[in-house]
């Protein structure tokens, strides 16, 4: 072994400051702007009771007050409820829906993907199930589920979960199939790794990237879907405020009371743009 002196790992290869690749992706301008937008929305949603003294459901005789006049900072809606409160509390209800639905979709979708990659027969069944779910446009699915379950948060969560489950499932299934045949996975098998260890230690950590990226995208889809469902009258159960239902209710007053619509529109835009930026940042981080 005389010719082989220990070779130091090339000193010139500088190590990046942030080790986790997702965090590294988020630390780019894109990621920071995305996080800031989403963070801001979340923060005002969480701080709602501090930012407004009105109960979002409290009604007064002063309907459709314009912003800045009277006691209401952002005006009131058609039955005299404070629009700022409804906006801030609306964020809460949207966030609740998104935070419930997306993880459910991710878990179920990934679970089905694991099942599909484990067994050929299961694969066929799962694939057909995904096909079936994907073949219904989200809103039609929404109408049908609402007919069964009635209007309410649970329904929206189920609809979003149904829409997003096949997306997660397909992504993970595809990624697992690719990574399972990569040379490092073969190496792990030769090294004696059983199916479980192969999956958890080697394949999944590498196959998870598209799923992680899609979490952010799915959240933005969820926000948009909540709005669309509210538009056709199958949104959050009244009187609770949600961004979508406020936006839908504002339609007759777009002209005379633009602030009514502007609030939820701005927040939805901020959320969706922010989440898309985060997804892009994560994607770039993962690809590196």
């Amino acid at each position: 072994m005389t010719t082989l002196t220990a070779v130091p790992a090339s000193a010139a290869v500088r190590r990046p400051r942030i080790r986790n690749r997702y965090l590294r992706g988020l630390a780019t301008p894109r990621g920071v702007i995305g996080l800031a937008l989403v963070g801001l929305v979340l923060a005002v949603g969480l701080a709602a009771p501090l930012l407004t003294s009105y109960d979002p459901d409290f009604q007064t005789a002063d309907a459709l007050v314009s912003p800045g006049t009277g006691d209401h900072l952002w005006g009131t809606d058609e039955i005299g409820r404070d629009l700022l409160s409804r906006l801030l509390y609306g964020i809460r209800s949207d966030v609740l829906v998104v935070l419930a639905a997306v993880p459910i979709a991710a878990l179920v979708g990934c679970g089905l993907a694991l099942l599909a990659t484990a067994h050929r027969a299961a694969d066929v069944a799962v694939q057909r199930l995904f096909d079936l779910l994907l073949s219904f446009p989200g809103l039609i699915l929404g109408l049908t589920v609402t007919a069964i379950m009635g209007v309410g948060r649970g329904t929206i969560i189920v609809v979003i979960a149904l829409v997003e489950t096949p997306a997660f499932g397909r992504l993970l299934r595809g990624a697992i199939l690719v990574h399972r045949d990569r040379e490092y996975a073969v190496a792990a098998r030769v090294g004696g790794a059983g199916p479980l260890r192969l999956l958890t230690r080697h394949v999944l950590p590498n196959a998870a990237d598209p799923v992680v990226v899609h979490v952010a995208l799915a959240m933005s889809v969820a926000v948009i879907l909540e709005g669309a469902m509210s538009f056709i009258g199958i949104g959050i159960r009244p009187p609770e405020a949600s961004l979508g239902s406020t936006l839908a209710a504002s339609r007759p007053y777009l002209e005379d009371h633009p602030a009514y619509a502007l609030g939820p529109l701005a927040v939805i835009t901020a959320l969706v743009v922010g989440l898309n930026l985060i997804a892009e940042a994560l994607n770039r981080g993962a690809r590196r």
């Binding site: 459901d57 039955i79 007919a147 009635g150 009258g233 007053y253």
Partner: protein, 527 residues
């Protein structure tokens, strides 16, 4: 193309130039916008009624042929295509001749004889005869037709046709709302009636013949040249465009794509209320009322004091202003002002009084309540339900809203499975008061959603219904009793009597509606 159209389109193009319409390639082309306007505008101008032109109507709801013989949601069909035997004068509620030229009611109220108009033809060319009336009555008795006035039609026990223009109906017992039936019962061409309920062909005797129906898109009518009223109608044709979204309908009106919008609520018409180009007609003989129903089998709603407390707790005026844009009548009785049963005193019986409501609740021993409140998942009902919820909360009654779609709402209504409280709408208060109690489901004395039954109520309803002369003092006293019992029991808590709104361009003249809110265009024209 006439000279004036050319001028219009040129003006449009000039206006549009800044809007980039030229870039869209529209300049100089045929314009869909102008086309509609041209059709609508008969040549010339002046004060007298003008012949010709096509009226563009926008309607929220479409035709449901299976429900042709009920009070249909498409109100712009029945009085265009069909006629009835008689039609009420909305102010006096006195029947006026239509297909029947005169009639005699037997003094005991158990039979009525009609003389029918001669020379009336269906759009198909077949002459209208007494047999058509016989058939129409039989048709309404058929449970499959689900006619709201089936109970009244069923009272007709026997029909004898004396000649093609004369017939006599015999009744099982006197009914005060007999002429409601004749206002309601459209005379359809019996030969094509199966086609009619299948939506293929609808034939009547009315001022306009239905040319085509495209489900979801619209209906097209042409003038009936043989209409029995001379020189009527004025319009050459009517186009009904189905626009299910209220704001889309309003935009269609504002862009003058339609001259008449049907089905808008008071909330919806706010943007054009003060615009001189448009006018809003309010028909206060009503299209029904918004009410809170109470399921008396749910404790503590079995105690009428609790129900009365609910009634006192709700601020009817605020609902009228905020949920209905101020169009309608805040009232604790179901009656519109035109009804013989209406009185100011009863209408104002339950003035907004939260303190009284609390007192009543305390008296009934009902502490903090928490009840479900169902409602139709339609925008105006949702708003009304939220307001009811808020008002109830102020007197310590917490409610959870349960929005239901139309089918589920109907199922629960019929099967008496409504929760403790619900917000809904009912009709049939605009005609004879007894019709309400026998034909409007929430009030039905035999079986209603509230699961309310009371021998006294049954007796009062029967007494009101069995009046031979609807205008007699005895009848009026019976209506008063009916109001009182309803106000006392409060299983149906009326909030607001709705006004029917027609939003139109201000040059549309002569549009009316009958008591079932069917559009009447016999005398309508565009000035």
């Amino acid at each position: 193309m006439s000279l004036s159209t050319f001028a219009t389109s040129r003006r449009t193009v000039l206006r549009a130039a800044g809007a980039g319409a030229v870039a869209l390639g529209l300049a100089g082309c045929k314009s869909a916008v102008d086309e509609k306007r041209d059709q609508a505008a008969p040549a010339g101008s002046g004060g007298a009624p003008k012949r010709g032109g096509t009226l563009q109507i926008g309607s929220i709801s479409d035709l449901t042929p299976a429900l042709l013989f009920t009070q249909n949601s498409l109100t712009a069909l029945h009085r265009l295509v069909f006629n009835t035997l008689t039609g009420y004068d909305p102010k006096t509620l006195q029947p006026q001749p239509q297909l029947a030229t005169s009639w005699q009611v037997a003094p005991d109220g158990t039979s009525v004889t009609f003389q029918l108009r001669e020379g009336v033809k269906f759009h198909s060319g077949r002459p209208f005869t007494a047999d058509d009336v016989v058939w129409a009555i039989q048709n309404l008795k058929d449970p499959k037709r689900s006619a709201q006035l089936r109970a009244t039609a069923a009272v007709v026990s026997d029909v004898s046709v004396k000649s093609p223009t004369e017939l006599t109906l015999r009744l099982a017992h006197p009914v005060s709302n007999l002429f409601d039936l004749f206002e309601f019962m459209v005379i359809a061409d019996k030969e094509s009636v199966e086609d009619a309920v299948a939506g293929k062909r609808i034939v009547g005797t009315g001022p306009f013949a239905l040319k085509s129906w495209t489900p979801g898109a619209g209906l097209s009518f042409t003038r009936n040249p043989d209409y029995f009223v001379p020189d009527r109608p004025y319009f050459d044709g009517v186009e009904v465009r189905i626009i299910p979204q209220a704001d889309a309908l309003l935009v269609a009106l504002r862009s003058k794509q339609v001259q008449l919008a049907i089905g808008l609520s008071g909330r919806d018409v706010q943007p054009v209320k003060d615009d001189g180009q448009f006018s809003i007609r309010q028909f206060d003989h009503g299209s029904g009322a918004v009410y809170v129903g109470a399921n008396v089998s749910v404790k503590p709603l079995d105690d009428k004091r609790v129900r009365q407390a609910v009634s006192f707790a709700v601020n009817r005026d605020r609902i009228l202003q905020q949920a209905l844009g101020g169009y309608g009548l805040a009232s604790s009785t179901p009656w519109p002002k035109s009804s013989p049963a209406y009185s100011d005193a009863t209408a104002k019986r339950y003035a907004y009084d939260p303190a009284r409501a609390k007192a009543l609740l305390a008296e009934a021993g009902a502490g903090e309540l928490s009840l479900p409140l169902a409602h139709l998942a339609l925008p105006s009902y949702t708003v009304a339900a939220q307001m009811v919820q808020f008002d109830l909360q102020q007197v310590g009654v917490k409610t959870t809203l349960e929005p239901l779609d139309a089918a589920k709402f109907q199922t629960q209504l019929i099967n008496q499975t409504m929760p403790a409280l619900w917000v809904g709408g009912h009709g049939f208060a605009q005609v004879h008061p007894s019709t309400l109690a026998v034909s409007a489901y929430p009030f039905n004395e035999a079986k209603n959603t509230s699961k309310f039954s009371d021998p006294q109520y049954t007796e009062i309803v029967q007494k009101a219904w069995n009046q031979a002369d609807a205008d007699s003092a005895a009848a009026k006293a019976a209506y008063q009793d009916l109001s009182e019992v309803l106000l006392d029991r409060q299983f149906v808590i009326d909030l607001v009597v709705l006004a029917n709104l027609y939003a139109s361009t201000s040059n549309l003249q002569g549009v009316t509606q009958n008591l079932y809110a069917d559009t009447v265009l016999d005398d309508a024209y565009l000035a």
